[in-house]
Amino acid sequence: MIVYLLKRLGAAAAILLVICALTFTIFYIAPDDPAQKACGKACTPERIEQIRDQLGLDTPIPEQFASYVRGIFAGRTYGTGSTAVECPFPCLGFSFQTNVPVQELLVSRLPVSASIAVGAAVLWLLVGVGAGVLAALRKGSWWDRTAMGAALGGISLPIYLTALVLQYLLVVVFEVLPYPRAVGLLEDPAGWFASMLMPWIALAALYAGMYARLTRTELIGVLSQNFVRTARAKGLPERTVVRRHALRPTLTPIVTVFGMDLGALLGGALITESVFGLPGVGKLAADAINSSDQPVILGVTLFAAAFIVFANVVVDLLYAVLDPRIRLGAS
């Protein structure tokens, strides 16, 4: 099992390396000159040359890539002598715009993204899975049809539309919520909640639809299984049959999908954060792209990919823990 885990982590690292390399190359086939970008508006040819030297842009691309990867694991020093700049582990370079180390930017933005992702996840799990279970248990009923119609609507909602409509109604027209802003959960819990509520609803509307549909399909499938019939044949009350025998097998695949979705969201909800102007990782990415801040784009891509890749590993392990057939192997 440990060997397996190490192998999986190794494969995850390999995937990240490939993603890193691909993203890295894209900026070198790009028409923009990174040194020009880093230099900014007030720029002299000498200054550009200096930056070029400092960033190591004169060395061949594979070599630059190697020093970038080395920097992630061991830190690196840009330039030499008096102009040398120390970039400690895990070095992702400096933002062209602000000159702040990219890793610091990411760490400072993570709490906002995490607040959005986790809160939305709680909301959509409650609503989506709940609605799906009820729909499956009352298959064909009025409730089932309404819930599934709503779910289909939910998955069809473009997030920026939901976001703008919410903001227009709740903030502009009815004035029940303030404009969202970045507030720490610990500093001002009420303000945090008020700011996060709209992003949560906007995201949850989409995901709750997906989860409601998934839960319903899974549960209907499980309810037709022979072991559910056995549970009924034992004379168990229907509630126990559903809770104990049907829900567990239903939730196992949902947990794995959930892990993947949460992983992806922790790496930044780009559109949601942009629309609400919340400074999370996604907003960081959007801003970096607008200003061609390549080190930041690269950093965010890697950061988000890392969440997805590791969520993948966690989900596989979780599956093994949840399903005794995998945990204990075949007989």
Binding site: V18, I19, L152, S156, P158, Y168, A286, N290, V300, I308
Partner: protein
């Protein structure tokens, strides 16, 4: 009706093009004249703030582009996904491992960020084709994974063994025996992936890296409505609702196809 909606918009899209009827603009802030975003007989869905371009014309033209891009992307993703999924699922072993890894890799990409990064450095040439390529590239593994699973299940069926006993070549088995059994599921998955591409394309344009400004697109219209949304909600509601209805329509059709099977 939902099925017809995208078709109708595409048809009427032939006639009006972009215009700049300055007359509708009041000098004050550039807001459209009249209530509801300047809805009038001339401009049934109002006009754009600041420029006064006709919203209906832009929405309809945007529809053409959005649908074209997403349909082409679906075609591309479905073709790649079907072929590679079939090979991976049926051949197993070495081919499956390589294709499987490739799918893992592509699905591990934070695809939106990556697409944005890619589109932001992409040359200005043919951005529409570029969008199709990027959407297809990141979209095929989702179809490929489903086809692979189905192909694996079918590979164990006795009719495939029967074909092997009869001396059928691998290719004949794949395309004559296995593929016809997959057209149903592939059609459903493809239909259900169209709205995803529409939404992603709109998202990319919304973020400013999709179709470039003179050409209209829904995402781009919504994006340009953001600064105005408090004063002129109709301007973002119109393209937004068009987008919603179109996506919903494809989802309903896909869902119905899935139920039929």
């Amino acid at each position: 009706m939902a099925l017809g909606a995208p078709l109708i918009t595409a048809l009427t899209g032939q006639s009006p093009t972009e215009f700049h009827p300055e007359a509708i603009d009041p000098a004050l802030g550039g807001l459209p004249k009249g209530p509801w975003g300047g809805i009038s007989a001339e401009h049934p869905l109002g006009v754009e703030p600041a420029t006064g371009r006709d919203v209906l014309a832009r929405v309809v033209w945007g529809a053409r582009l959005s649908l074209l891009i997403s349909l082409l992307a679906t075609l591309l993703a479905t073709t790649i996904g079907t072929v590679l999924g079939l090979v991976a699922g049926f051949q197993g072993g070495w081919a499956d491992m390589v294709i499987g890894r490739l799918m893992d890799l592509l699905m591990s990409f934070p695809s939106l960020i990556f697409m944005i990064a890619l589109m932001s450095v992409a040359p200005d040439g043919n951005r529409e084709l570029m969008l199709v390529a990027v959407l297809g590239l990141f979209g095929w593994p989702y179809i490929g994974r489903i086809v692979r699973g189905q192909a694996m299940a079918l590979a164990g069926r006795e009719f495939v063994e029967a074909a092997r006993v009869l001396g059928a070549t691998r290719r004949a088995i794949l395309f004559r025996e296995v593929l016809p059994n997959l057209t149903g599921p592939i059609l459903v998955v493809a239909t259900l992936s169209i709205p995803g591409y529409i939404a992603t394309e709109a998202g990319l344009s919304f973020l400013g890296v999709g179709v470039r400004p003179p050409t209209p697109s829904w995402g781009q219209m919504i994006a340009s409505a953001v600064p105005w949304y408090a004063a002129d909600p109709v301007y973002f509601l119109v393209p937004g609702l068009f987008l919603l209805v179109t996506v919903l329509a494809f989802n309903v059709v896909g869902d119905a196809l899935g139920d039929l099977r």
